[in-house]
């Protein structure tokens, strides 16, 4: 009985504290996760950096999200890919799939490397991160299509794409290709590693899709003047 009364006398505190909301007072500054910035000695700071440091000592700072780390192995492109793979907010599974993919790619390449004759060894790329970035570059479209209405009809007009949009399209195509067009019983990391290795050597379905988009844009050149921006 005494426990319930003391429970009522305590001030109410919520059981769950949300540490980082996405809406902050604009007064708050962004956190700086990189370690190199803090190792610059006092004498070598530029005037802007000195001003920034003074500002940071008086203003409050937003809490850092779980995905940013000060680790040397942090890769923003890979984090974006993980977020796009994620379903229902389950980042652990998505991150696990990506790490297994990287391991699988590296295993295949290193095995090939060790079995190759001396002359061919230099051509085999074993770094899974280099393969991932190069494969993504090979999948990025240069030009895109937009649906523009003119005179009651809709025309597919070729438009330039921003860097973010290109990266998004490459990642989206890669993920949908692996989810839909592969054999049902193969695991996701196996499908992804096969597709990434193919894209690295400019083969495979994703690169084909990029080429088809380019061809469509080329064939619709005549409507390019419908774009007004």
């Amino acid at each position: 009985m005494s426990a319930s009364i003391t429970g009522l006398l305590k001030p109410w505190t919520p059981r769950l504290f949300l540490v980082r909301w996405s809406r902050y007072n604009p007064y708050y500054l962004e956190p700086e996760p990189r370690k190199e910035v803090y190792h610059i000695p006092e004498t070598e700071l530029t005037p802007e950096q000195k001003e920034e440091r003074e500002l940071k000592s008086v203003r409050p700072i937003k809490a850092a999200t779980n995905s940013v780390t000060s680790s040397v192995f942090n890769d923003p492109v890979l984090s974006k890919f993980v977020n796009m793979m994620m379903k229902d907010g389950d980042k652990i599974i998505a991150k696990g799939i990506i790490t297994q993919t990287l391991e699988n790619m590296k295993r295949k390449q290193v095995e090939k490397y060790h079995k190759a004759p001396e002359g061919k060894k230099a051509e085999i790329e074993c770094n899974p991160y280099a393969i991932f970035h190069q494969a993504l570059e090979n999948c990025k479209p240069v030009i895109g299509l937009a649906s523009i209405q003119k005179g009651g009809k809709f025309y597919q007009v070729p438009i330039p794409l921003t860097d973010n949009r290109r990266r998004f399209l490459a990642m989206k195509w890669m993920i949908t290709e692996c989810r839909d067009n592969k054999h049902r019983l193969t695991l996701m990391y196996e499908k992804l590693s096969q597709e990434l290795l193919a894209a690295f050597s400019k083969e495979g379905n994703v690169v084909k899709r990029k080429h088809e988009l380019h061809k469509m844009a080329e064939s619709n050149r005549a409507y390019a003047h419908y774009r007004w921006w």
């Binding site: 680790s71 040397v72 192995f73 790490t99 297994q100 990287l102 391991e103 590296k106 295993r107 290193v110 095995e111 490397y113 060790h114 079995k115 074993c126 770094n127 899974p128 991160y129 280099a130």
Partner: protein, 397 residues
């Protein structure tokens, strides 16, 4: 407390450990050195040319030795951890690190008196510290010394996930596991080919009304029968174990028997198997477990029992448990008692350096930052020098 006292008493019976400096091994080293002199000098920091476990000593601690490819499929058809098997396939070579627990075990085996009852050695340590690899190193030593090796890769596999549980024909209340027994017999045959024709049976075994194996037949016939007649394979396993136990310490044509059991804590405890009326099966009601327990008893001589504790495959054990008392339980501890405990610790600084250099040499650490000092510090911090955690981290870096 009791464990410490018993091990102390046992340590006095086993002779002192001294490093071996055999002249024969030195000659072997020179010969191998001649072939590989084209390799640059930096490799020799973490690699050693001494591929024979008998000649390895404390000066080789922390260095990797290569298991010759010819030995691989005969000595280790089933004993190695699955991630290590993948690593061997990727690197195109099998390298094992020479570590303190394995060297200690090998020196005990060299110095033991084989006319006395068998010594039991128990490797224990936290998850991922290298117990199974130390066991495999010791098994390689026993193999190269010409011992008969009885390697049970994981005793937990016999007490869980059994699709077919037949009631035993030999004993009414026991259960047979045909698939597991025949698999094990097949691997046993691969490991010990040369012994199978030499050992003769000392007793007549009757399997059914029409089938029996006479006295004096070679052991190979018994094993072949067990592999082909899957139904009686568990009883064949029991017969094989009994014959080996009787003949191990024999003076005429005597061989030494090494019983290597991984995950020995699975033999005592609970199983996840159920009888037809949904009541749980106790481990002693399984023929394989019953016979293996008789093997682990120290009532025979002429060999050694080397066992490993394992929490990873164990049933109904908390994940933080790693000490013998916790994992074996009362019954298990009383059966294993007295034994020589061999603790397996995480990598020391020297061993970590060696492992890091090995991965660099095999082109396994590909991330550009992992080759820097900061990346190395981060690897030490994240893995806490735990061998299996380090391996998993380096896999995707």
């Amino acid at each position: 407390m009791a464990l410490h006292r018993l091990s102390f008493r046992l340590r006095q019976t086993v002779a002192q450990v001294r490093p071996l400096h055999g002249s024969g091994c030195g000659q072997q080293q020179e010969a191998v050195g001649m072939e590989l002199e084209t390799r640059p000098e930096t490799l020799s920091i973490f690699r050693t040319q001494e591929n024979d476990p008998a000649c390895q000593s404390e000066q080789h601690l922390g260095q990797y030795y290569t298991v010759p490819p010819s030995h691989f499929h005969t000595v280790f058809p089933h004993g190695l951890p699955p991630r290590y098997q993948q690593q061997v396939k990727t690197f195109n070579e099998g390298c094992v690190m020479v570590r303190q627990p394995a060297l200690e075990l090998i020196s005990h085996l060299k110095r033991a008196d084989y006319s006395k009852p068998t010594m039991r050695y128990l490797l224990y340590g936290v998850k991922g510290s290298g117990k199974t690899m130390s066991l495999c190193h010791t098994v390689h030593y026993c193999s190269t010394q010409g011992w008969l090796v009885l390697h049970i890769p994981d005793a937990h596999l016999w007490v869980k996930n059994c699709k077919e549980l037949l009631p035993s024909s030999y004993h009414a209340s026991r259960f047979d596991q045909p698939i597991q027994a025949s698999n094990w017999l097949r691997n046993f045959r691969t490991t010990n080919e040369h012994f199978l024709s030499k050992i003769k049976l000392r007793q007549r075994y009757v399997w059914t009304k029409r089938e029996s194996t006479e006295e004096g037949r070679p052991l190979g016939e018994l094993v072949d029968m067990g592999v082909s007649r899957v139904k009686s394979s568990s009883d064949v396993v029991g017969a094989v174990l009994k014959e080996l136990r009787l003949q191990a310490g024999g003076t005429e044509g005597g061989f030494r028997l090494a019983v290597a059991v991984d995950g020995v804590n699975g033999l005592w405890g609970r199983t996840t198997l159920k009888k037809e009326d949904k009541s749980p099966v106790a481990p002693e009601e399984l023929t394989l477990v019953h016979n293996l327990r008789k093997m682990i008893n120290n009532d025979w001589c002429g060999g050694a029992v080397i066992a490993t504790l394992s929490q990873t495959g164990s049933l109904y054990a908390p994940s933080s448990a790693y000490l013998p008392q916790e994992l074996l339980g009362e019954e298990g501890f009383d059966s294993m008692d007295p034994f020589v405990p061999v603790p397996v610790s995480l990598y020391s600084e020297k061993e970590f350096e060696s492992c890091y250099l090995y991965y660099l040499d095999r082109h396994w650490l590909q991330h550009p930052h992992s080759r820097t000092e900061e990346g190395k510090k981060e690897l030490i911090f994240l893995s806490n020098r735990n061998p299996s955690v380090l391996e998993r981290l380096c896999a995707f870096l």
